[in-house]
């Protein structure tokens, strides 16, 4: 039942329907396009809003040892998942070292919008993830960049100076700063401070997400139509990795003792692949890698697969794992 519900909610939610509209519009080669400044602004808005909401939730619920454990788990997953991805990309995917490392970094890191869409769908199913999961989201953004670079370049390569500069840029990239900053603001402001700004950050949220996903649908579909680098092997990996990583995540989340919504959320985080923070970091740190590869895989294949199929799947597994009593914890 929960599975059917999650899938049904996926395909009647305006949020997902706008994503599909974007895909279709690009496939029929319509000139529909969201101005880039606006799209960028919407992505910042979504991060600020999700960050604050998470902080407010933790301000209400208080800290617990679960939070510390799941933060650690997130850190570990982000750092370790690139290693298996790298092996598959080099072996089955036939990529060279540099490109395999660059792509692997994307799959260890996370996609904020995939997570946000999952929280909407989980919310509709009555099992929203806990607020602290936003901190996990932020924690999972960057470790994968480090392991991806290690895999691509080995440990020695860069001069110490360049390396520390690079680390600074990775750890202080826009999305990490905004997510964590808003999270802390939510913590400090608490429910009463948040209520002042909730008409903007809470009420408007799903509508902005609709327009942003419309744009992501357009960009994802146009990219796959223009790509020159994709092979069937890589396409298969771009679907296989989120499937496997999602299952690992949901199992780990359940094992840690997360509630069913948070376990599903953790699964989605592991399944998702970055297409905002990591590509920019790779342009800087691994300019020799082909952006046609990593952007097309993460944005044009994995992202739609996660939105349209995998979130529903992961939710069903989380519900099944939680057992009959799990849904109303």
């Amino acid at each position: 039942m929960a599975m059917d519900a999650a899938i049904l909610h996926t395909f009647t939610s305006p949020v997902v329907l706008f994503f599909v509209l974007g895909l279709l519009a690009a496939f029929v080669r319509s000139d529909l396009a969201i101005p880039e400044a606006l799209a960028k602004g919407m992505s910042l808005y979504l991060m600020a809003a999700i960050g604050m909401k998470g902080g407010v939730a933790v301000a209400e619920s208080g800290f617990s040892s679960t939070i510390a454990i799941v933060l650690l788990a997130g850190f570990a997953a982000s750092f370790l998942l690139p290693f298996t991805a790298y092996a598959v990309l080099k072996g089955f995917g036939r990529l060279d070292r540099i490109n395999a490392g660059a792509v692997a970094a994307h799959y260890g890191s996370v996609s904020v919008v995939t997570y946000v869409t999952a929280t909407e769908i989980l919310g509709l199913s009555g099992i929203p993830p806990a607020g602290y999961m936003v901190a996990v989201l932020a924690a999972m953004e960057t470790p994968a960049i480090l392991s991806g670079l290690m895999l691509a370049k080995g440990l020695k390569s860069d001069s110490g100076n360049e390396r520390s500069e690079m680390l600074r840029e990775v750890f202080l990239n826009a999305s990490v700063v905004l997510l964590l900053g808003s999270f802390v603001i939510g913590l400090i402001a608490g429910p009463s401070g948040f209520s002042e700004v909730s008409p903007f950050f809470a009420a408007g949220f799903k509508g902005v997400l609709c327009l942003f996903l419309l744009d992501m649908g357009l960009i994802a579909a146009r990219r796959i139509m223009m790509t020159k680098s994709l092979t069937w092997r890589l396409s298969a990996i771009a679907i296989g990795l989120p499937l496997v990583n999602g299952m690992i995540g949901v199992l780990a989340g359940t094992a840690i003792g997360l509630d069913v919504g948070s376990a599903a959320g953790f699964g989605v985080l592991c399944a998702s692949a970055s297409y905002i923070a990591v590509p920019a970091a790779m342009r800087m740190a691994l300019p020799e890698a082909d952006p046609g590869l990593y952007l097309t895989m993460s944005l044009s294949i994995t992202f739609p697969f996660n939105i349209l199929v995998n979130i529903g799947l992961i939710t069903s597994v989380a519900v099944a794992l939680a057992g009959p009593g799990g849904i109303v914890p």
Binding site: D215, R222, S229, Y275, A280, R283, P287, L295
Partner: protein, 102 residues
């Protein structure tokens, strides 16, 4: 007639995340300044791109005016990474007024 002198104008197309690296090179060549223009879309050997600002992988155009000597220094310092970093560099002679600035 107003007096003009000849300087080099250098324009470099680069991924936006690499702009800092290019402008640092310009500063190191002790050129007096630079200006960055936005770019919308493009196509090259690696395929076409557009709408990548939200992904952070769009491109920018950096333009700088310098004396022949400093321009050569800059070109020399960027040459090694032109290919690996997909930079596109063109330069040509232009007339400027009050050329002592550059």
């Amino acid at each position: 007639m107003i007096e003009t002198v000849i300087r080099k104008r250098i324009e470099i197309l680069a991924d936006t995340p690499l702009v800092r690296r290019v402008t640092d090179a310009i500063d190191r060549a002790s050129i007096t300044g630079w200006t960055v223009l936005p770019v919308q879309s493009g196509s090259g050997r690696e395929g076409a791109w557009r709408e990548e600002r939200v992904l952070g992988t769009d491109k920018s155009l950096i333009l700088t005016i310098a004396s022949q000597d400093k321009a050569a220094v800059l070109a020399e310092s960027l040459a090694p990474i032109l290919s690996s970093h997909s930079l596109l560099l063109t330069m040509w002679d232009v007339e400027v007024i009050r050329g002592e600035r550059f």
